[in-house]
């Protein structure tokens, strides 16, 4: 009797267990989905704008699997930058031509006195021309990277254009060093004369010596020259910093930093070139007697009187002469 009851219990127990298993098993077999909790590409891209992970090769930078931001950079490099560069440079050239045709060269109103005084020492001129030469080569080789494929490649052919671009790249890389040194020296040696002051406000109000028709007083550097100085210092500093970021990849930043560096580098460079065109214009055909300041280093006393009256007074007070020194002016 006991034996029979024990057997019946076992039978019922087995039956219940089987029922439970049969009820549970279909759901286990069908619902296993390993991707339910897995990482999803589109979700990662939406959240982080890039997909990044771990790599077991030594090059840890290759851990960035996907960065579609390159697409925006491509749009900037191929479209936006062409517009910025084209409008800035051609626009400035057009403006200068129109200005020259309407205004012509700004003459010395009182003519030349025949007496000169030193404006820039030989060291200052050396620094200026070293920076200027580097700038022109850097500008042309830089423009080649942006516009060369459209403007030069079709008529130069692939081999010749690549050869030229390779040398242009070498020049761009190597001349960045003397250019940077030049910018640093310019910053240091002309800083004292380029702090904005009250005289500049009046100078700007009266349109300076080139736009306006009178000669507002100015110290060694007028407000226009001070603007050029700060554009060179800040613009030059920016192109140097961003340029070295690109030249030494991954030392300073990852891929997104290099994209941003290229954007800043190219925009600043394009605007820099436009400003320098105006600087070259005023320094050459735009104003009589201006080029010799950076050429021979001396300017005519009448030029100083008209354009930098306060500086002339300073110089006279410093040298103790009522009048400017006469030629030849020895280095101080």
């Amino acid at each position: 009797m006991v034996c029979l009851a024990r057997f019946a219990r076992l039978l019922i127990g087995t039956g219940v267990l089987l029922l439970l298993i049969s009820a549970a098993s279909p759901s286990i077999a069908q619902q296993v989905n390993p991707t339910a909790s897995s990482v999803k590409e589109q979700q990662l891209l939406q959240e982080l704008k890039r997909v990044q992970g771990r790599v077991s090769i030594p090059d840890q930078r290759s851990g960035v699997l996907e960065q579609p931001a390159g697409r925006e950079w491509r749009e900037f490099r191929n479209v936006t930058l062409h517009w910025i560069g084209g409008v800035a440079i051609l626009g400035m050239l057009a403006a200068l031509i129109i200005f020259y045709l309407s205004r012509g060269m700004v003459r010395l109103q009182s003519g030349r006195s025949g007496r000169t005084l030193v404006r820039f020492s030989s060291f200052e001129r050396f620094v200026h021309w070293m920076t200027a030469t580097c700038f022109i080569i850097l500008a042309l080789s830089g423009l080649n990277i942006t516009f060369g494929r459209t403007l030069l490649l079709p008529w130069m052919g692939h081999e010749a254009f690549s050869e030229w671009s390779q040398w242009a790249k070498y020049a761009h890389n190597y001349l960045s060093f003397p250019f940077t040194i030049g910018v640093v020296l310019i910053f240091l040696m002309w800083l004292a004369g380029n702090i904005p002051n009250k005289v500049d406000v009046d100078w700007v109000k009266r349109g300076g010596g080139i736009v306006g028709h009178d000669h507002p007083p100015a110290y060694r550097f007028n407000a226009g020259q001070k603007a050029i100085y700060w554009i060179v210092v800040i613009g030059g500093g920016l192109v140097a910093a961003t340029g070295y970021t690109l030249m030494f990849p991954f030392y300073l930043s990852g891929i997104e930093g290099m994209q941003l560096a290229q954007v800043v580098h190219s925009i600043v460079a394009m605007l820099f070139m436009a400003v320098m065109l105006a600087h070259i214009y005023i320094g050459t055909i735009g104003m009589e007697g201006a080029f010799e300041a950076m050429g021979s280093g001396t300017v005519d006393v009448n030029w100083a009187k008209e354009h930098h009256s306060l500086w002339l007074e300073e110089e006279n007070a410093r040298t103790g002469a009522n009048d400017a020194r006469t030629q030849p002016t020895a280095a101080e």
Binding site: T35, V39, V55, N78, N144, S162, M247
Partner: protein, 198 residues
Amino acid sequence: MARMKFLCDADRCIECNACVTACKNEHEVPWGINRRRVVTINDGKPGERSVSMACMHCTDAPCAAVCPVNCIYTTADGVVLHSKDLCIGCGYCFYACPFGAPQYPKVGNFGSRGKMDKCTFCAGGPEADGSKAEYEKYGANRLAEGKLPLCAEMCSTKSLLAGDGEIIAQIYKERVMKRGYGSGAWGWKTAYRETIES
């Protein structure tokens, strides 16, 4: 003509890195350069996935669009190749590439960038197919011999697929249908502006 593509089935990749090794060996890729690598996302966490990635041979390739000397081109098979004779090593293709494919040997100016190197889909370069010059610059040209890229050919789990886009998409679709899941064709939307519905 086929339209060659890569597809990495992340649900099968076991991060063995054999594709990376095969690629380096087949093309004698110099030290420090990896044309292919395996990236593990969410490493050690639930839902971790590994993806083998090289050049995806994009439709309307961004690298080719931004190259200042126009040295990158797409073949009739949809493979993106470049000429190392024309490349000036400027790095622009690397900024534009969504997959980090372009690699630069540390030679040239300040050892920062030599001529670009990248996955060729085992299709060599502009030189004559199978020539010594082609091998030295770009590695083996398996495609010209009627073979597919070695990385995919020897993938032990057949996670990495290479070949005509429509065929590999079909293989992947069937897999997903059979097993009932799939985390998608990684990179396809970015590279080909399309994805495989499953």
